[in-house]
Each structure stands twice: as C-alpha cells, then as structure tokens.
C-alpha cells in the first residue's frame, strides 16, 4: 500500500512539473534534424487565401552562402522580417531572384516563384512553398541528402563546415545581375574570449570561418555593434535569447548546446 502511494505521488509530481513547463513555455521540443532552421512565413499568405510559406534553410544553405541571400538578395535575419510579397518575387527580387524559371542549379531550372494566374500547374507550384499544414512531398529528401555528409550531434545533425571543406557542398556566393564583384576579403585575426565561468575553456572565434559564408556586413554592426574588443560583455542568457551568436547559432547554424565548438581552446 505504501509502495502504491509512493508511485502515485511520483506520477502526480511528474505530471505537475510537465504541466507547469508546458504552461510557462519553458521547455520547447527540440526540432528534428530536418526541421532545424525551418522558417514559417505568413505576412500575407493566409490573408490571400494561401497556406503559410515553409522555408527550409538546409536546402538553401547547401547551395548558397548565407551572405548571398541575406546581403545581396536582402532577406532579413528574422523570419517574416522581409515582408515579401508575391509581386516582389514576380519582379525578380527576394525568392524571385533565383526562383525565376531561368536560373540553372544542378542542371535544372529553379522553379518560378509566384504567378498571376492560379490553378492547374501554377497551383501545384504555389504549394511547393505555401505548404504549411499540407501534405506536400518535398522535392529534396533530407535523409537522402544527409546520408552522404559528415555528421554532427545537434542541429541538422550535419557538420556543414566540414561538408564544404571536403567538397560535398559548394555554396554559391555570387548571383549574376544581383551580386557585386568584389576584391578579396580582408579577414581579421582570430579572437579569443575568456568566459565568465572559470570551468569553461576559452572561446575561439574564427573570423575566417564566419566571413567565408557571411562577409562582413551581415554581422557588423547589426548583430555585433561593439567596435572595440572587450568593451561589451556577451552573456549566455542573451545569446540563448537569440542575441549576438544566438541570432544564427540557435536557429540555423550549429546550436548552442554544442558547447565545445565555441569553447574550444585547449586547456
């Protein structure tokens, strides 16, 4: 009888904790590898009678650098922050910069985004992006794509950096008539940051690794506003809230759970 009461008490306590967590929204379900980096965009879609747009970062980052889309094409760094309209795409901007039925990627023309006439073939095309809540079979299968790439523990479960270094992916950084041909990038030196907690190894920040995909203006000064090293303290709380490193490293790039990828100085 005592055992039964103890078990009942345990179940009650667990249920209480679970209920409290779900109500306060403290514990979020960790996204599955193919979901990591997914952005749902609904500025105008539902008002126009369409499903929201589901944008998978993994498909796009396997083909293009972050800089190409967030600097040259001018996509905002926050989901829905760009306020993309169908007319923008049809004019050849934003999604329409590549999704124009003309750009050839992997020997295939990239399908055209948005159309004035709906229905028929166009209707099916709409659903390739306006797919939230719909059972649309994606053209590219994540598992098949991921099977040949170097693995990691978190996020998409892939080591994107190694994937590029080993030649599995070759992200484009230039789009004709959109990008500007520039001189070679001047890369600043690596930086070392001392963490607040003495038990953690120092952080090595590699400008080289970051600029190869991001350029300079993607991070400075919008994300990192400080002009002098050490003049600003970055707390893990703020980073987990999506500031500083957390803008990318909690959304698209390897997540913050992967401590030793930043706290990487040998001790």
């Amino acid at each position: 009888m005592k055992k039964m009461s103890f078990l009942f008490l345990c179940v009650l306590v667990c249920a209480g904790i679970a209920a409290a967590q779900s109500q306060s929204g403290m514990k979020k379900r960790r996204p599955l590898p193919y979901e990591y980096g997914k952005v749902v965009i609904n500025n105008y879609s539902e008002k126009a009678g369409f499903a929201s747009v589901v944008f998978d970062h993994w498909v796009h980052r396997s083909k293009f650098t972050c800089r190409l889309c967030h600097v040259d094409i001018a996509f905002a760094m926050k989901g829905g922050g760009t306020n993309i309209r169908a007319a923008d795409n049809m004019n050849g901007y934003y999604c329409g910069a590549c999704h124009n039925g003309k750009l050839i990627i992997d020997k295939t023309a990239v399908f055209e985004a948005c159309a004035k006439k709906l229905g028929g073939e166009n209707g099916r095309r709409c659903e390739r992006c306006h797919s939230q809540g719909k059972n649309v079979k994606p053209e590219r299968d994540f598992m098949e794509f991921a099977s040949r790439l170097p693995k990691e523990r978190f996020g998409n479960g892939l080591n994107w950096e190694k994937a590029e270094a080993d030649g599995y992916i070759k992200p484009l950084d230039f789009l004709e008539s959109v990008s500007i041909r520039k001189p070679a990038l001047a890369v600043p030196k690596e930086m070392f940051f001392e963490p607040k907690g003495a038990e953690m190894p120092d952080i090595i920040f590699s400008h080289k690794k970051h600029t190869v995909w991001n350029g300079c203006e993607l991070c400075h000064p919008e994300i990192f506003v400080s002009v002098k090293k050490g003049s600003r303290k970055y707390s893990m709380e703020e980073i987990f809230e999506g500031k500083y490193c957390g803008v990318c490293h909690n959304a698209v790039a390897f997540p913050l759970l992967d401590c030793q990828r930043c706290h990487s100085k040998q001790v």
């Binding site: 001018a74 001189p183 300079c216 002098k228």
Partner: protein, 110 residues
C-alpha cells in the same frame, strides 16, 4: 558661309527630330535609353560604393568617411524607386553604410 549655314540647319533639324520623336512616341527608344541611363546611374553608384565592403578594413578613415557620405547622398535617389526595388536597395545600402561607419568608428577608437 554656305557650309556654316548648312551645318546650322543640320544641327537644328537633328534637334527638332529628337524633340518630336520624344513627344510623339512616349515609349520610344530614346526615352527608354534615357531612363535606362538614369537607372544605371544610381545602380552604378551603388555598386561602386558597396564594392568596397569586403576590403573596408584596408581603407583609410578619409576613404571610409567619403563612402559614408556617398551612401547618404545616394539614399534619396533610391527612395524614389518602385516599392520592391526601393525596399531591396535601401536595405542593401544601409548594410554597406553601417559597415563603413562601424569600421570607421572602430579605427578611430584604436
């Protein structure tokens, strides 16, 4: 003397033809070419400015200041463009300008 008169008549006729063609055919090639030129004008300036972002660290403070000024001068011209183009290029110009200002400030504080 005759040669001079003939030359003047030719110039006047050419000018009149140009004015008439613009007035009669509002979408003619001359006008399109003019618009294209004006468009290329701001775009060329935009590209010439933002071309420097990747090597902004190697620029002098004076060069950076000049680039920031050029961004500020270009902004009103981009603000006159169509909605989509305006949105895209204002964002791109802002990123260039902010980076130049950032590098300038960091160099001045060194």
């Amino acid at each position: 003397m005759r040669k001079k008169i003939a030359y003047c008549v030719f110039i006047l006729a050419a000018a009149a033809a140009l004015v008439c063609s613009v007035a009669v055919f509002p979408d003619n090639a001359f006008r399109s070419a003019g618009i294209a030129c004006a468009q290329d004008d701001w775009k060329a300036e935009f590209e010439d400015i933002c071309f420097r972002t990747d090597d902004s660290l190697s620029l002098t403070n004076e060069e950076l200041r000049r680039l920031v000024s050029r961004c500020d001068a270009l902004k009103p011209r981009i603000e006159k463009l169509d909605e989509t183009e305006r949105k895209v290029f204002l964002q791109r110009l802002r990123m260039c300008r902010d980076l130049f200002a950032f590098v300038l400030e960091s160099q001045e504080k060194k």
